[in-house]
């Protein structure tokens, strides 16, 4: 069995990707049209595509996208601040680690989507409770990555700095922090894509009609407009892909040196 393949060129990859998407869409269209998959209410690609075009032409929908993005960003920022600080401290200070281990293990499995409605009740409608729901879901990957990052800083690097007479603060700022940053960022990347899903889901399940989820909600109160729902869902998905792509680029640009850690 061959384990190593020459990497495909960028162009081949793009072409294959397009072929994959077009093929999938065609198969889905065919399967639904021929009734192979019992038909009513399922997302027929052509119909959903048409709805996507309608949606994107609708200024109101763009406002909702904006709301979702702002809500998601607020949540991600909250999660990052809490996750990095708490996670970093847990990684660096054993006492703090034992103090917070139990609560973290208890709170982590709680589905944020289930806690969200409570936040809405306690904090009121609007963006904050939704963002907090997002933050609650995003926090764990960031927290754990920060914790492991703070712990995993190469002891040889730290010893080197010590022989170079770098002060304690200097080691923290010049060695520990830069060494840990890429892993923290990986946590943020993972969290970001989870966060967007949670953002839309939260709007959908207990929002007040705003955001992409809110749009889906309102669209679905109109009798049997399922294609609109599917279209908005698809747009949310594509948005997620874009966000992931942007973050991956930032990662490559800012932390290209990470390759140096791969052993």
């Amino acid at each position: 069995m061959q384990l190593i393949h020459d990497p495909l060129t960028r162009r081949t990859q793009v072409v294959l990707g397009v072929v994959g998407v077009v093929g999938f869409v065609a198969v889905l269209e065919l399967v639904i049209r021929t009734g192979l998959l019992s038909g009513e209410g399922l997302p027929l690609p052509s119909a959903v595509g048409g709805q996507v075009v309608n949606l994107l032409g609708d200024g109101e929908f763009w406002t909702q996208i904006g709301f979702t993005l702002r809500q998601w960003l607020l949540g991600l920022v909250i999660a990052s601040v809490v996750g990095i600080i708490l996670g970093g401290l847990m990684g660096a200070v054993p006492t703090i680690f034992s103090m917070f281990l139990l609560p973290v293990e208890i709170l982590r499995p709680l589905p944020s989507i289930a806690v969200g409605p409570l936040l809405v009740l306690i904090l009121g409608a609007g963006m904050l409770p939704l963002s907090l729901t997002v933050a609650l879901a995003c926090m764990w990957p960031i927290l754990f990555n920060s914790m492991y990052a703070a712990r995993a800083v190469d002891p040889v690097a730290i010893q080197t700095a010590r022989t170079l007479h770098v002060s304690r603060a200097g080691i923290l700022m010049q060695i520990r922090l830069p060494a840990a940053l890429p892993f923290m960022f990986t946590g943020i990347r993972v969290a970001a894509s989870i966060g967007l899903i949670v953002a839309v889901s939260a709007e959908l399940l207990f929002g007040s009609g705003q955001g992409i989820g809110g749009y889906i909600l309102v669209a679905s109160t109109n009798a049997s407009n399922l294609d609109g729902v599917y279209a908005a869902t698809l747009v949310a998905g594509v948005l997620g892909v874009l966000v992931t792509g942007v973050l991956a680029s930032i990662d490559r640009l800012a932390f290209g040196w990470k390759e140096g850690l791969a052993q």
């Binding site: 190469d154 040889v156 690097a157 010893q159 080197t160 010590r162 022989t163 170079l164 007479h165 770098v166 010049q174 060695i175 830069p178 060494a179 940053l181 932390f255 290209g256 040196w257 990470k258 390759e259 140096g260 850690l261």
Partner: protein, 271 residues
């Protein structure tokens, strides 16, 4: 390299006084006493696991000895002494992957020198190890041998009084290795510093050393201290063809094999 070292301080002398080190149950260093003379090149050789790296960590104050003490110019070492620079065995991990090569080399000079002087020293150090023009690369964009040379350049740029190196040439090819050995000798002579090198290569130990400290199997003690009288400056080819060289290396080899006999040491002065 030396132009800026206008007021070179005196080289440091190092004394190891009955050093031992135990990790849990595991005795890494038995009981070691030795003197690393000022302004000379001393080389430690010994089998793998003999505690050479551990000994260097103790000397540089990175670790505390279980018993015994290290005297640096007559003062007990307690923390990392001033004027010391070290090249780690694990060179790839001791370079900072988020800094470019030039920043890695300049790093210890921060806050000590002006920006202009720093830039110049970095350039000189990189040139000395044959890496001029590679300063903008990241360490991981270089081959293993090149990385090791960056680590050496960083130590040189510090213009230390005591230079400690742990298997500095393990990953470079024979040719570069020879060049780096000669570079070390010439810098040592120019700057008049104390050098302490750990190596697995017996040829190298004899070629570099004024004094060779041979360690026994763990828990290690000093098996023998050999003063090498080969003339300086040395030459990779002619020095290695000299009879004293050939016999000294055979002697060290026998020591390490545990088969040394007093006769073998006839042509080297035993300290």
């Amino acid at each position: 390299m030396t132009d800026h070292a206008t007021e070179t301080p005196a080289p440091a002398e190092l004394v190891l006084d009955e050093i031992s080190k135990t990790y849990g149950q595991n005795r890494a260093v038995g009981n070691i006493s030795a003197t690393i003379p000022a302004g000379k090149v001393s080389v430690i050789v010994g089998p793998s696991g003999a505690g050479k790296t551990t000994l260097l960590r103790i000397i540089t104050g990175l670790e505390e000895a279980t018993s015994g003490r290290v005297l640096f110019d007559g003062e007990v070492v307690n923390g990392v002494p001033e004027g010391l620079a070290m090249v780690f065995q694990d060179y790839s991990r001791s370079l900072f992957p988020w800094m470019r090569v030039e920043d890695n080399v300049a790093f210890p000079l921060r806050r000590r020198t002006s920006k202009a002087e720093r830039a110049q020293r970095v350039e000189e150090a990189l040139k000395a190890v044959g890496l001029d023009g590679k300063g903008r690369l990241y360490p991981w964009q270089m081959s293993g041998g090149m990385q090791q040379r960056v680590a050496i350049a960083r130590a040189l740029a510090c213009q230390p009084r005591l230079l400690v190196m742990d298997e500095p040439y393990a990953s470079v090819d024979a040719q570069t290795r020879a060049e780096l050995e000669d570079l070390l000798l010439s810098i040592q002579a120019q700057l008049d510093i104390t050098v302490l090198v750990v190596t697995h290569d017996i040829d190298e130990s004899v070629y570099l050393a004024d004094r060779i400290i041979v360690l026994s199997k763990p828990p290690s003690t000093v098996a023998e201290v050999i003063d090498v009288g080969l003339a300086r400056p040395r030459d990779q080819i002619t020095t290695k063809e000299e009879a004293e060289f050939v016999h000294a290396r055979a002697h060290v080899l026998r020591l390490l094999r545990g088969t040394a006999t007093p006769d073998d040491a006839s042509d080297v002065r035993v300290a």
